[in-house]
Symmetry: D2
Subunit: 510 residues, 4 copies
C-alpha cells in the first residue's frame, strides 16, 4: 500500500504515552515542538505520492502490489544503489526518517534470521517476512532502537550491580510471547513513528543470553513510555526562527530523539526475531551497523554539500575567495564531501553477499570508511568553516535586531561584505553556519549510527588480514606466504628477469 | 579609589543607547539578560573589597593611594606574574571582565605612546597617563574595542567600495578633538562597562592614515549605539537554567558581546592616543594582541581545568576509567591544560622589555604559543570529551523531565552509571558538558583575542630567524653563519677533538 | 609489436651520455647500480610475453596487430579500469615503469592536441598519433619529464634573473624543427628508457610562451646529458643487501631518478605536440597530472597492502595483536589502504569525458582525492608502523651480524618475539619496515606525481562550486539558488507538507 | 677528578668484547665507524677542560675537589636549570653522551634508594653514594641500560615461554654478589663508555621479583658481549661524507647504539642498587624516565633550532619566503621549537621535591609534555620541511657529481635558486635536510627516551586528577567538591554578588 499523508497523520493519534519538556503530550501532530518531527514524517508519504519521486520510492512486490521501495529486500548491487539514491534524495527534503532505522533493522534482522535458521533450525525468517508483509501493506513508519542506556560501561549486561535492566532483556518467557524490560536512548524520529524494531547494541556471552533479543512492537503498546529530547530551539517555528535557525526550524536534531522505556512490555512470538541466541548478537549488531551507516552517509551528503557551499559563499561575501589559504580550506571541504560520496557509492557497487539468503549487505569495510570519513572530520570541518566565516559566527545579529527599524540602517551599513552582495544574504549565510556548526551537529556526527570506535572495530573486523599478511611475508621474504592461495598463485617473475640480465661490469667505484 | 559594588551599579544608569534582541534597554542592571553581564561586572568590585582577595587586587599608586592593581603599569616580570594570577583567580569567579580588555588596551597604548613620542615628538604618553590617573581614581569598568566590521576583507580600509566606515576612522579633525565614525564588533562586557578604549585591528599604509586612531570615550557619549548579542540562553537565569546550563546561566558568552556603532562621535584631544600615525598601527595592534592573549590564556585556565575534570568524572561515572584509550584521552587533556599553564607562566617570567619606557610586555612568542595551544586544540578537546561522555551529551535529559514525578523514577533507574554514583550527579556532569562544548565555545576559542592565523603571524614575526638561520648554516656547513655574533662566538670544538684522535685502522670491511 | 626482453636490452646500448655517482656509465645494462633499474625495465617485457599476463597487457590495435595495451587510447570506463589493473599488477612485480610516465604523457598530449587543433587550427593530433604508431610498432620504453629545475620559485619562467633556462624552453625555431634548452629533474626510470616525452609543469602567461612546449625525443639525442641519482643502497644487490634492504635491493627509489639536461637539443617538428600555445600549458599540466596520479595510486596499492600486512605481522610477532590500541592502529592502516583502492576505482568508473575527442580522462576530483589520501597520510602511517614495530626499527640487526656464528646464538635467543615465531622471521619483518619507512618513501609519497599542494589546487579547480553554492543558498534561504538548473528543478516539497499539517495546540509551555 | 681526553682514550683499550657489522673490534678508538662514537665521547672531556665551558661543567664536591658537575646530585631548581644548560650546550657539540644516560641513572637510583631504605630498611643509599664517589674521582663515561629485548610483549617477564632471559634478571644470588643474565637493546654511546648502569624498563609484580634489579658494571666485565648497530653511513667520515651527510658524518644515530648481552655476569653487592624489591620497579622506571626525558628535550633543542633554520633558509633559497603558506609552516616550526624550550625550562623551575632526600626531580608532568611536544610533532615537522625544500630532498646531487668537472657546469647552472645565492649553499642545505629527515630521526624521536605511549602514561600518572575533578564538580554543581581542600577554600562569591543586584524588570520580551 502507498499510504497517504492523511492516513499517516491519523495513525499517530494512537494513545501513546509521550512526554516533552516535562509535559505529557496529548497529540504529537499538534504539539508545537513535536509537529516539526511529524512534519518530517509526512515527507516520507509526500515523496511516495509525488509524480516526480514516485519512480524512485515506489516498487512492486512479488504479488505485483505497489509498495514503498525501501520495504523490499536488497538482492543486488543495483538495489543498494537505488536505496542510496532514495536515502540521499529523501534527506534533501528532510524525509526518509520513517524509512531508514526501521528499514535497516528489518534488513539486518532478515540476514541474521537466515544464519540462525540454517545453523540452529529456528524459524525466524518466517517472522521477519511476516513483518515485511505487514509493512508493505500498511507502510507504517518504523524506527530502530539499538543503543541501550548501559549503566556501568565496564560491566557486562548480566553483571550490572544496581539492576539488570540497563540493557533491554527478556524479563519473562510466556506461552504466547515474551515480556521485555529496559530502556533505549536517542532513538530518532520516534514521536513520528508507528512502530519500533528493537535490537542489541553489543556482543554477548552466554550469561547475557536474555539480552540477545530482537523484536518489533507498536509504540503505543502497554508499558512503553517515551521521553522526547530537549528541542534545539524552543517553541514553534516562525518567521523569526526560520531566519535565525534555518536548519533547526525545519528539523532540529534535538527534536526527534526519544528515550524509549520498556516496562514489562508483552511481545507476541511472531514479532520476535531473536530470543536468547547470544552467539548471533554480534551478527545483528554488526549487520545493522553496516546497513545503517550507509544511511548515515546518505543523510550527510546534502549536509556536507551545503556546508561546503556556504563556506564558498562566505569566502566570496567576505572578499576572501582569491586567498590561497582560503582556497585550500575550501578544497579540503570539497575533498571530504566528494570522498564521502564516492566511497559510499563504491560500498553499494561492491556489496558483501549473503550467499545462501540471496541477499546483499553494503560492503562492510567501505561503508565504515565512508562513515568514519565525515565523522572523524566533522569537528575539523566546523573549525574550518568558522575560520572562513570570521568571528561573527559566534555572535551574529538576530532577526529581532534586523527587523527593528531603528537598528536596521546601522546593520545594513556596517555588516555588508564585498560590494554587490546584499547585507541580508551575508547575514543569512552566517546564521546558517551558526546553526550548522552548533554543538549538536558535532556530537551527532560522532555518535549517531555508531561512534568512531565502532567504525575502527569494523575496519579491524572486515579487513582481509590474511591477504595483507601473506603479501607482506612475500615482500619481506618471510616463509609462509604461499599458504594464501591468491599470493601463492603469484609467480616469481623477478627471478625470470634476473636470468635474462647480462653479467655485471665491476670496474665502477659505487 | 577602590569602588564599591553599589557605586558601580549606580554608574551604569547613564543614559546609554543599547538594544537587546531588538528592544531598547531602559536599565542594564534590571534587564533579564544583561543583568547576567552586569552581575559579572559586580564581581570585579567584590574582589577588590574582599578581605581574602584584596592583597592580590589592590595596590598602591605612586601617591600612596589604594588603586586597583590592574590599573598600574607592569614594570617587572613579577608584575606580569601577579597580573596573570589576578586574571586566573578573577576568571574562576567570572570576574575581571571590566579589567582586562581595557587594562590591556591601556598597557598597549602606553608602550606605543612611548615609541611615537620618542620618534615623532608627539606627547601621547601624557594623554595615556592622564587616563591612567582617571582610572585609578574612578576605577571605571573599561572594555577594549579592536575588531572592525571590515566589509570586503580583500580591500584596504580606504579602498572599500560601498562606504569608508568599515573600519573606525577620523571623520573630522576639530580644534578641541576628533570626530570618529565606524563600528566595532563583538566587544566583550560592553553592557557592564563605563568606558571603552578603541584601537585599530590591522596594519596600515599611508592612504589609510585616518584609520590609525586610538582613543577612549565613555559609552554614553552622543552618537554611540550599542547592539548586544543574542543570549546563549533566553530569559532570566532560574533554578531550571542553572541545572540545564550551569555555565551559560552564570555568564553566557553570548550575553556579553556588543556591536558598538560610532556615528560621528566627538572625542576631545586629551582622550586620543594616536591620530594618523599609520606607521604605528601595527605596533599597537601587535602590543594589544600580546597583552590580551595573555588574558585569554588566563581565562582559559579554569575552563580547561574544569573540562579536564568533567571528562575524568564522566569516565568514572560511566565505568570507563580503567580503559587504556580513555586514560590516553584524559592524559591528552591534562597535557593541553598544563601546557597552557606552563607556557603562559613562562611568558611572564621572560618578558620582552620596552627598554626606554621601563615597561615589560609578555613574551610575544610564548604568549602566542600558549594562546594557540588551546585555540588550536579546543575543537579536538570537544571531540574527546564528547567521546568519553557518550552520545547522551547530544540529547541529555532536561530539568523539566527530571522534576516531573511521573518521569523521575524511570530516569533515576535507567540513567545511572557506575554503582554508587547518584544518577543526578551523572546528569549534571553531562549537562555541564553539553553547555561547555556548545558551538559558542568552539568559535570563541578560535576567534576571541585573535584567530589562529593571528598567532601564526606573530610566531613568524616574533621568532628569531637570524639566529635559527645562522645556527642552521653552521650545521650544514654553509658560509655566513659567523655574521650572527652568538653563533660566531661558538668555537669549533669538533676540530679540536679530531686532533686528539688516533689514526684509523683500515683492516676492517665496513 | 610485442618486444622481447632481448630486444629491449640491446636497445639500451645506444651511446647515451649518462653519469652515476660522478662516473660516466659505459653500458647501463652492466652497471652495478643502474642494472637494478634496467632489470625493472625488463619486467615490462616479461609481462607482455608471459602467458598468464598477456591477456591483460596485450591488445590489438585498429590494424589488428598485437600491441602493448598501454599504448592504446582510453575511450571508455572499462579501458581505464583495465589500465588501473595493469598498473597495479605490474607494480606488484616492479614493472610498468617504462609504460606509465610515457603512457600518461601520450594520453595527456592527445587530449590537449584535440583542444588545440579545434580551437587554433593546429595539427597536433596528427603528430601525437604518429608517435602512437611508432610506439605501437617499437614498444619503446618511454619516460615523461615534467618537473623543471625552476630556479627562483617566486618568479615566472621568463622573469628569472640568472638565466632563462630554469624551465625547458624553445631556444630556437628552425625550418625542420625546434631547438630546446633547460633541465628536468627527478625523471623516473630514465636510465632504462629509450625515449622521453617532455611537458610543462605549470601555467603560463603570454611572456612565457617559449616555455609552452611539448615534444618527444630519444634519450641518446645529441645535447642530452643524464645524471642519475644517488643510489638508495650502494653497490650491487647481493644476498646481504636482499636481507638488509628487501625493497631497495629490488628497486630502490633512489636508483631510477635522473636529471635530464637539454643543451640545445634539436627536435623535428613531427615530434612536437605544443610549441608556444601558452594558453594550453595549464591544460597539459593538469591532464598529465590527473592521468599520472592515477598511476601513482596504483603503484601505491601493493606498497600500502604490504605495509599494512607487515604491521599486522609485527603486532603478532611482538605478542601485541590483542591490544585495543594496536588493533586501532591496524584498523586505521586498513582504512587508508582500502580507501585508496576504492576511490581510485571510482575515479575510473566515473571518468571525465573529453567529448569531441571520444576519449576519457580519470575523474579529476576522485583521482586527486585518492592520491592525496595516501600522500597526506604516509608520514602518519610511517609513525604508526614504527610505533607497532618498536624501537628496534631504528637499529635492527644486520645480515653480517646474523651470519657471524659467534653472534648468532645470542641473536637467536634474545631477539625472539612470541613463542612459535622463528627469530629470523621477526628480524626480516623489521628490516622490511626499516627499508619501507626510510626517508625516501616519505618525501617520495609527497612529491612524486605532484605535491600535496598540487592536489589541493585540483580539488579547488575540479569541484563543482556552482552546485555547492546553489544548494547552500537554497538551504540558507538566500536568493539566487534557482540560477543553477539542478537546484532550480528541486521543488519545495516542504511547503506542500506544511499545508497538510493540522493547526498547533498552544496550551503547552515549551 | 677532571679527566683528560688522553686518559679517556687510554681507558677504552680495556679488552671489551664488541662486534660491529659482524666483525670483532680490536680497538674502538681506531675502528672506522666506532671512532665517530669515541670522538663524540672525547667531547665530554674537551668541554670540562675548556676555559670557556669549564665554569658550566666543573663543580666542587663536598670535599672541595673539582668534579664533573653532572656527577653531583641536583638539590635545587637552580641545579636543574644548570643541568639543562649543560645538556643543551654540550649537545650543540655532540657532547654529554657519556654524562647523560649514566647521570640520569644515578640520579634515579639515588631517589629510589632513599625510598627503599626508608620503607624497607635496606642500605642502598650507601651503595649509590659509593658509586658517586667513584665517578667523581674517575670521571668514567657511563651509559644507562633500560630497554630489555622483551620477547612476547603480551607476557610478563616471568611468564615468557621460550626462556626466562627476555628481561635482565638475577640468575643467581651468591655471597659476594649477584649473577645476572639477559640483554638490553639500543643502549646509546656504549662503545665509547667505560661502565653501564642497568635498570628495569617496567612495572613488576611479585612473581617477577628477580627482574627487579639495578646495578652498575664495567663494560669489559666477563660475560658481557656488545653488538654495535648498523652505521648510518658506511666507512670512515671523509670530505665526501661530510658534504653528503653533514649530520651523520659527525655523529650518526646508528653508530652509537649497542645491544648489551649479559651472559651470567657477576656483580658484587656494593654495585647493586636494587635486588628483588619489585614494588619499586615502577619508581625507578618512572624516575629514570623523567630525568632522562629532560635530557632528550635538551638534546633536541639544537636539532629543532637547526631544522627550523634550514627550513627558513630553503624558503629563501627557493624564492618562497613571501608566500603566506610558507610563512605559516615556518611559524609552526618556530612554535614547536620554542615550546620545547619554554616547557623544559619550566620543568626545571618547578621541580618535584623528593622531600626526605633533599633532592629534586624535574617536574614529571612538564618534562613529559616537553618530550611529547617534539616527539609527537617530529614526523609532521619532517613533512613540513620536505614540503618547503621541494622534491629534490628525495634525490639531491651527490658530492661525487658536484666534484666531476664535466657535470659541475650543468649543476652550477641548473640547480641555482634565488639570484645571489651560490648554488652550493642551496645544495648543502638540501643535503642537510636529506640527512636530518632520514628515517632514523623519525623513529628515534619517537622511541628514544620512551615512546609516545610512555609519555601518555606519565601524563595520566602525574596529573592532579583530584584537583581537576573537584573543580569540575564545583563548576557543574555536583556535591563532593569540598573534599578537596584547595577547592573547599574557594568561597561562593557569586552568591554574594547576587545579593547586591537590583530586582529584574519583567517587561521585556526576551
Amino acid at each position: 500500500m502507498i499510504r497517504t499523508v492523511e492516513q499517516y497523520l491519523e495513525s499517530l493519534r494512537d494513545g501513546r504515552v509521550i512526554y516533552n519538556s516535562g509535559e505529557k503530550v496529548k497529540d504529537v501532530t499538534t504539539h508545537p515542538i513535536l509537529r516539526r518531527v511529524v512534519k518530517g514524517g509526512c515527507m516520507d508519504y509526500v515523496l511516495t505520492n509525488d509524480p516526480e519521486y514516485r519512480d524512485l520510492f515506489v516498487a512492486q512486490n512479488e504479488k505485483g502490489e505497489d509498495v514503498h521501495f525501501l520495504w523490499t529486500a536488497p538482492k543486488t548491487s543495483e538495489d543498494l544503489l537505488r536505496k542510496r539514491q532514495a536515502y540521499i534524495e529523501g534527506s534533501r527534503f528532510g524525509g526518509v526518517g520513517l524509512h531508514s532505522m526501521g528499514v535497516d533493522g528489518l534488513a539486518a534482522s532478515r540476514v541474521v534470521a537466515g544464519r540462525m535458521d540454517s545453523k540452529l533450525g529456528t524459524n525466524y525468517i518466517e517472522h521477519v517476512e511476516l513483518y515485511r508483509e505487514h509493512l508493505q501493506s500498511t507502510d507504517a513508519g518504523v524506527t530502530g532502537a539499538q543503543t541501550d542506556v548501559k549503566g556501568d560501561r565496564g560491566l557486562h549486561p548480566a553483571s550490572q550491580v544496581q539492576h539488570k535492566d540497563y540493557y533491554v532483556r527478556i524479563a519473562d518467557r510466556q506461552k504466547d510471547g515474551i515480556v521485555v524490560s529496559g530502556a533505549k536512548y536517542h532513538i530518532s524520529a520516534t514521536p513520528a513513528c508507528n512502530e519500533v524494531i528493537v535490537l542489541p547494541c553489543r556482543t554477548h556471552m552466554e550469561p547475557d543470553k536474555d539480552y540477545a533479543v530482537v523484536f518489533w512492537t507498536p509504540l503505543n503498546a502497554e508499558g512503553i513510555t517515551l521521553i522526547s529530547s530537549e528541542p534545539t530551539i524552543r517553541g514553534l517555528s516562525t518567521e523569526e526562527t526560520y531566519w535565525d535557525y534555518p536548519i533547526s526550524a525545519r528539523h532540529g536534531i534535538g527534536d526527534s530523539e526519544c528515550m524509549i522505556i520498556f516496562d514489562n512490555v508483552f511481545v507476541p512470538w511472531e514479532n520476535v526475531f531473536q530470543a536468547g541466541e547470544w552467539q548471533f548478537s554480534r551478527d545483528i549488531a554488526y549487520a545493522f551497523g553496516t546497513f545503517h551507516r550507509l544511511y548515515a552517509c546518505c543523510r550527510m551528503v546534502p549536509a556536507m554539500e551545503n556546508m561546503t557551499g556556504i563556506a564558498a559563499l562566505m569566502a566570496e561575501y567576505n572578499g576572501l575567495e582569491k586567498y590561497a589559504h582560503i582556497q585550500n580550506k575550501l578544497a579540503w571541504l570539497a575533498n571530504v564531501t566528494e570522498s564521502l560520496k564516492a566511497i559510499s557509492e563504491a560500498a553499494c557497487m561492491f556489496p558483501d553477499k549473503e550467499v545462501e539468503a540471496d541477499l546483499v549487505v553494503p560492503n562492510g569495510m567501505l561503508t565504515n570508511i565512508a562513515k568514519y570519513m565525515y565523522a572523524d572530520n566533522f569537528h575539523e570541518a566546523t573549525k574550518v568553516v568558522q575560520d572562513i566565516c570570521g568571528g561573527i559566527v559566534a555572535d551574529p545579529i538576530q532577526y529581532r535586531d534586523w527587523m527593528n527599524p531603528e537598528e536596521r540602517p546601522f546593520l545594513e551599513k556596517y555588516l555588508g561584505g564585498k560590494a554587490g552582495i546584499p547585507t541580508e544574504h551575508r547575514l543569512k549565510a552566517i546564521r546558517y553556519l551558526k546553526d550548522a556548526t552548533g554543538w549538536q551537529h558535532g556530537s551527532h556526527s560522532i555518535h549517531a549510527e555508531g561512534s568512531l570506535a565502532a567504525q575502527m572495530k569494523m575496519f579491524y573486523f572486515d579487513a582481509d588480514w590474511d591477504l595483507y599478511k601473506a603479501r607482506a611475508k612475500r615482500a619481506a621474504g618471510i616463509p609462509g606466504w604461499d599458504e594464501h592461495p591468491a599470493v601463492a598463485a603469484t609467480r616469481d617473475l623477478g627471478a625470470l628477469t634476473e636470468e635474462k640480465m647480462p653479467p655485471v661490469d665491476t670496474s665502477y667505484n659505487v
